[in-house]
């Protein structure tokens, strides 16, 4: 997926690579954020009435 984005991007190689890294980091942050949210189903910390 990332390689197809890379090949479709215009501009010099360095700029395309920078965009690609930014997209990868964004995806990683989204995935971790979703893990945190989903994690509350497994273990929310055990608070009462919070």
């Amino acid at each position: 997926m990332l390689s197809s984005i890379y090949h479709r991007l215009p501009g010099p190689r360095a700029a395309r690579l920078a965009v690609l890294v930014a997209v990868a980091v964004l995806i990683l942050l989204l995935v971790i954020w979703s893990y945190e949210i989903l994690g509350d189903i497994l273990d929310s910390g055990g608070t009462v009435g919070e």
Binding site: V31, Y35, D43, S44
Partner: protein, 248 residues
């Protein structure tokens, strides 16, 4: 096979591969990576705890337990006509910590637990370790000190809370000193066949004020589910304020 059909099959296959990778990542993140995060935070909290103890302001305050007719010392009997005890007792009181900061160490030798606790029970607080419900008394003070902690993730400090039985010793070290609690049997209203106290997350009565000095530990139940709460009640039996509170 037509190219369109091949594309659909290939797309479906990749979708399942990505979904599988996502779920494997989720399991690894929850059961392994969160433990690393908490271990790092615990190291930092433990290192700063002694300095915190030195910063805490400890005061001696006059405490007026309420004596109800019949001689029972209490503050919470509904409907009773309380008569203030004319003789104040001296209670050691410590200043509260900032939310998110370390404030005490909890040790339960029976389950090999020895972790630093933080003030507050926000999500970010409980990632560091067990958290004290702000607004409830601090451990070692009269009333009901409520502590919550993770059971399966973020170091799982309360992972073995279900193994505690009546009489198990719990030590909480604060700036005042070490407060010793003993686990009491689960109340009938929440007792399961296994003798555990299991309630809904909305059952606020477990955090209500109580006479004497109590430590209430709460965590998720059953393991790998946040559907219910496992509650352990422990009563103060020794410590800097025990004689004053218990009237012994």
């Amino acid at each position: 096979m037509r190219p369109r059909t091949i594309r659909i099959i290939r797309g479906t296959g990749w979708t399942f591969i990505w979904l599988g990778a996502y779920l494997m990542g989720f399991v690894a993140y929850q059961l392994w990576f969160t433990n690393l995060l908490t271990a790092r935070d615990q190291s930092a909290l433990a290192a700063g705890l002694d300095a915190h103890f030195e910063d805490v302001v400890v005061e001696e305050v006059e405490w007026f337990p309420v004596v109800v007719a019949g001689g029972t010392t209490t503050t919470t009997v509904p409907g009773a006509e309380p008569i203030p005890d004319p003789v104040p007792k001296i209670l050691f009181v410590e200043s509260e910590s900032e939310v998110g900061e370390a404030f005490a160490q909890i040790r339960i030798p029976a389950i090999d637990l020895d972790v630093t606790m933080v003030e507050g029970v926000r999500r970010r607080d409980l990632k560091k370790g067990p958290g004290h419900l702000s607004g409830s008394p601090l451990p070692g003070q009269p009333g009901n000190a409520v502590i919550s902690g993770h059971r399966t993730t973020y170091g799982a400090p309360f992972g073995d809370l279900g193994e505690l039985t009546a009489g198990t010793r719990i030590e909480v070290e604060t700036a005042l000193g070490v407060h010793i609690y003993e686990v009491r049997e689960a109340p009938e209203r929440c007792r399961t066949e296994e003798g555990l106290c299991v309630v809904k997350p909305t059952d606020l009565w477990v955090a209500e004020p109580r006479e004497g000095a109590w430590l209430t530990l709460t965590t998720c139940h059953p393991k790998f589910s946040a559907r219910r709460r496992l509650i352990v009640f422990a009563e103060l039996v020794a410590g800097p304020n025990a004689e004053v509170i218990l009237g012994t």
